[in-house]
């Protein structure tokens, strides 16, 4: 595998890891079953900083979500990305993402909501050449959430199917499994600021990349992260922030381990 191809694949993988639709009261890195109210509009600005050895990837995305029903939302994310390595810096409009989530189960009781949802997203191959994945990717997911006035719990599983680009390179498909706890230290009051602390355990299993059908040695593997974070809201405005730190890594061949990933999201419900 040529060095330039390796860099492209690693960069694309990192950008893939960054790309995920943000949804209201969901975890920072995992997903939850939250959707929007009917006819509601959510605007979000999400920024990601991802360091992996000498490679840094930044992505800022504008996201628009619409509540089709009280249980079904859909939207689009338009990211701008930059890849910084010791030798060069590339930036441009990254691949747009279309996404939808359907909450198929909801159990409400006083001060508590349990629910489950499925999500589907597609990363389109329409970004600038130097930051695009170069292929259409599909992400599917299933998530459960328990949300009370004090405690939160989420669990989710996602599968990312990566397409093959014109050069015959296919980034390895990825399975993501997340467990998240949330704690609200002060009883919430409507029309007052609200804070929830989050603690995530994120696991990623990545298959090997292939070039023209042949597996590459220095690709794929397992990584696990812990991710402390915060969710702060006031009325219809929210700020989410979290940092993902590696706790376990078993990558195939010679690869840089992830150093950290930082994500912040500003959301506004209209």
């Amino acid at each position: 595998m040529k060095r330039s191809n390796s860099i492209k694949v690693i960069g694309s993988l990192l950008l893939s890891a960054l790309s995920q639709p943000a949804f209201a009261h969901d975890p920072n890195f995992g997903i939850g079953p939250h959707v929007l109210f009917k006819n509601g509009i959510e605007t979000a600005l999400e920024t990601n900083l991802n360091k992996n050895g000498a490679q840094k990837n930044n992505q800022t995305g504008l996201q628009l979500t619409y509540g089709i029903t009280g249980d079904w939302s859909a939207g689009v994310k338009l990211p701008y990305a930059s890849k910084v390595s010791p030798t060069n810096t590339k930036s441009g409009v990254a691949d747009a993402q279309l996404f939808t989530k359907y909450r198929f189960w909801r159990q409400d009781s006083k001060g508590l909501q349990e629910s489950a949802a499925v999500m589907l997203a597609a990363d389109l191959n329409n970004g600038d050449k130097n930051v695009s994945n170069g292929a259409n990717d599909i992400i599917s997911g299933l998530t459960y959430g328990y949300e009370s006035l004090v405690w939160y719990r989420w669990a989710s599983v996602r599968y990312r199917y990566n397409g093959e680009n014109n050069a015959g390179i296919k980034r390895g498909n990825k399975t993501l499994v997340d467990f998240v706890m949330g704690w609200r230290p002060v009883m919430p009051e409507y029309k007052k600021p609200d804070t929830v602390w989050l603690f995530e355990l994120n696991n990623e299993v990545t298959e090997k990349n292939t070039i023209n059908g042949k597996q590459t040695a220095n690709s794929g593997g397992i990584e696990s992260f812990i991710a402390p974070g915060i969710f702060w809201t006031y009325r219809n405005f929210a700020i989410k922030a979290g940092v993902q730190l590696p706790i376990y890594s078993n990558l195939n061949g010679t690869q840089n381990k992830s150093d950290y990933r930082i994500r912040t999201t500003f959301e506004w419900h209209l």
Binding site: H25, F37, R103, R106, L112, Q113, M187, E189, H269
Partner: protein
């Protein structure tokens, strides 16, 4: 014209006027809503009611799972309408009471 029918007529008119005024007054709906766990998510309820014609104010008590809606004069909602609005915002209305403002 005798005095009694005039008094009766006046009485009925006043009664009718009072009845009209009573009917025209707004209504307060106190709804017990399940699933309320965070103020950010509950904003959808406020949004859902505020855009509904005739709603004067919305207040939410998260701790007690209460949504209080006051309507403008002469505006009323059925239980079915209220349930639908709450459901469209992702929550469940368990019960409600109504009283004139």
């Amino acid at each position: 014209m005798k005095k009694t029918p005039v008094i009766s007529l006046l009485g009925f008119s006043l009664l009718g006027l009072w009845a009209n005024l009573a009917l025209a007054a707004g209504t307060q709906y106190n709804m017990r809503v399940d699933g309320l766990a965070c103020p950010f998510c509950a904003y959808g309820i406020e949004k859902g009611f505020v855009k509904t014609e005739g709603v004067k104010s919305v207040d939410i008590d998260l701790k007690n799972g209460l949504v209080i809606v006051k309507t403008e004069d002469g505006i009323t909602f059925t239980e079915k309408q209220l349930k639908r609005i709450i459901n469209d915002t992702g929550f469940t209305m368990k019960s409600m009471t109504e009283s004139p403002l």
